[in-house]
């Protein structure tokens, strides 16, 4: 599903974020990405959804060579990758329904299909009753559930989540994790960067640790491994 071959990433200001990373993530895996701040986790994720391109090396997502992608092809590749952020990134002037439907409108799905599928995923994340609300009227946990609904509405093969529980209290974080686990159970690959020790240690998954731009640990059913 995701393959990185000797990936190097140096930013324009000379910061080197990744130094020769190679990794293979299979279909339907759930991977935690851990490591100190500034270790390269965010760059690792940005490379997957093509917000950045590698300085050196090749990365394949879903069979596409991400680094060699033509500008005009980017939107089509992103439609197969759902992205979830710590700060939710919902469109403030659109209702909950419209925020989720937007991702389907962008792929020019028929209106009836959009309506049916959008309500379906809103029900899945438990926010069907709030579909007419605006993001500012929702709690942080609810907003994150909306952003998850938006990420999965087009049935992407991969979900990339950059500290999805970073802004949420422990109970709400657990809700979000259960939701992600359910989505993973339905067949979606999930890569999630996190600093949440409790979650990593209680919901055991594959753990990839990154430090100074290198993978220093890669364990199935691993532990968080850092003291906070």
């Amino acid at each position: 599903m995701i393959e990185m071959h000797d990936i190097w990433k140096t930013y324009a200001d000379g910061t080197s974020a990744l130094n020769g990373v190679s990794v293979k993530i299979d279909r339907n895996e759930f991977v935690y990405l851990v490591g100190p701040s500034g270790a390269g986790k965010s760059t690792f994720m940005k490379l997957i959804y093509r917000e950045e391109i590698p300085t050196k090396g090749e990365i394949f997502v879903n069979g596409f060579n991400i680094g060699k992608l033509k500008q005009r092809k980017i939107p089509y590749v992103r439609r197969n990758i759902g992205v979830i952020f710590q700060d939710f990134r919902l469109l403030p002037k659109l209702t909950i329904y419209e925020n989720v439907a937007f991702a389907m409108e962008a792929i020019e799905a028929p209106r009836k299909v959009i309506k049916k599928r959008t309500m379906e995923v809103l029900e899945l994340v438990g926010l069907k009753h709030k579909h007419k609300s605006f993001p500012s009227q929702l709690s942080g946990g609810e907003q994150q559930r909306v952003s998850i609904a938006r990420a999965i509405v087009n049935n992407p093969a991969v979900i990339v989540a950059d500290e999805p529980t970073g802004n949420l209290d422990p109970d709400t974080s657990l809700d979000i994790m259960n939701l992600l686990e359910e989505i993973n159970f339905r067949g979606t690959t999930i890569v999630m960067a996190t600093h949440n020790k409790e979650i990593v240690n209680s919901m055991r998954k594959r753990v990839i640790a990154i430090e100074h731009g290198n993978i220093v640990r890669d364990e199935q059913r691993g532990e968080y491994g850092y003291e906070i």
Partner: protein
């Protein structure tokens, strides 16, 4: 693009205007004010232009004949002068008419000056009042009259007058008025474009984050651009039509209110139907263009995420 997607974009454009209430209000206000000022100045310029033309059209050539010209020579000269292509009108003023006109002009108080003169001892010559199609040609027409007069054995023409010296100054003034009108309107148009596109740019900068989110979920550039295009066009068209209507209705009111107060002036304001086409065309085209151009240009800047 699918038809349903197009209707979606139009729907989203409308929705966006309503949801971004204050931002839309700012754009609409800035387009409204710029176009209002522009419209007022277009009307001013058109009227000044008309007044300048009206003043110029009053420029006439007066041809004074010698007192003792034979009737057939007068008739021949009248025909020849009347045949000059630039001449639009030639009025024959007989000695009697000339005296009557002079009495009129002198008025009651000075009528004693002309006492004792009657049709028997009328000292005035026959004159032609010549009007030309293009006021600026008076000098060349006057020269032509001189040269026609020169073809006779003895010149039947005593003098040709068109306000030499004064006319040139008059044309300079009317030209200056016209040019000032054009320059002010052009400068205001440019100011309007800059002011409005700046406002629109600000409203879109505020939505930069929205655009980057849209790209993140896999929307293509054109998919993002369309609703902004619709929004800009709607704001531009609606506001400029509204402003044009207000300007023209206001102008009509002014004409009606001052119809009698201004009648002591020989000048008349142009009627609405004469200024309507040019004013509304300029304003609506400019307004719509700015609305569309402003939004398209600003979105373009943020699409390269």
């Amino acid at each position: 693009m699918k038809f349903s997607t197009l209707t979606r974009h139009i729907r989203e454009g409308f929705k966006s205007i309503l949801r971004n209430g204050w931002m839309s209000f700012a754009s609409i206000t800035s387009i409204f004010i710029s176009l209002l000022i522009l419209g007022v100045f277009i009307l001013l310029a058109l009227n000044m232009n008309a007044m300048a033309s009206q003043i110029e059209s009053q420029v006439q050539i007066r041809v004074f004949l010698e007192t003792d010209v034979a009737e057939d020579v007068v008739a021949d000269l009248q025909k020849q002068v009347g045949n000059i292509p630039e001449v639009s009108k030639l009025i024959y003023v007989s000695k009697e008419e000339g005296l009557a006109q002079l009495r009129d002009r002198m008025g009651e108080d000075n009528s004693d000056w002309l006492e004792g003169y009657n049709n028997e001892n009328n000292p005035l010559p026959i004159t032609f009042t010549v009007e030309v199609f293009e006021p600026k040609l008076v000098k060349s027409v006057a020269d032509q009259i001189h040269s026609i007069a020169g073809t006779y054995e003895t010149s039947p023409v005593a003098d040709v007058k068109y306000g030499q010296g004064i006319v040139e100054t008059l044309f300079k003034v009317t030209d200056a008025i016209r040019n000032a009108g054009y320059i002010v309107v052009a400068a205001l148009s440019i100011t309007a474009v800059l002011l409005i596109s700046n406002t629109i740019r600000m409203t879109i900068v505020a939505r930069q984050r929205e655009i980057s989110i849209m790209k993140m979920v896999g929307a293509t550039n054109s998919f993002i651009r369309w609703p902004f295009f619709v929004e800009g066009a709607l704001i531009g068209v609606i506001t400029s039509v509204l402003t044009t209507a207000i300007v023209l209705i206001g102008y009509d009111q002014i004409i009606n209110a001052f119809q009698y107060e201004l009648s002591f002036l020989t000048m008349q304001l142009l009627p609405v139907k004469e200024v309507m086409a040019l004013t509304s065309l300029t304003m609506i085209i400019l307004g719509s263009f700015i609305g569309i151009w402003g939004s398209v240009m600003s979105v373009r800047k943020y699409l390269k995420v």
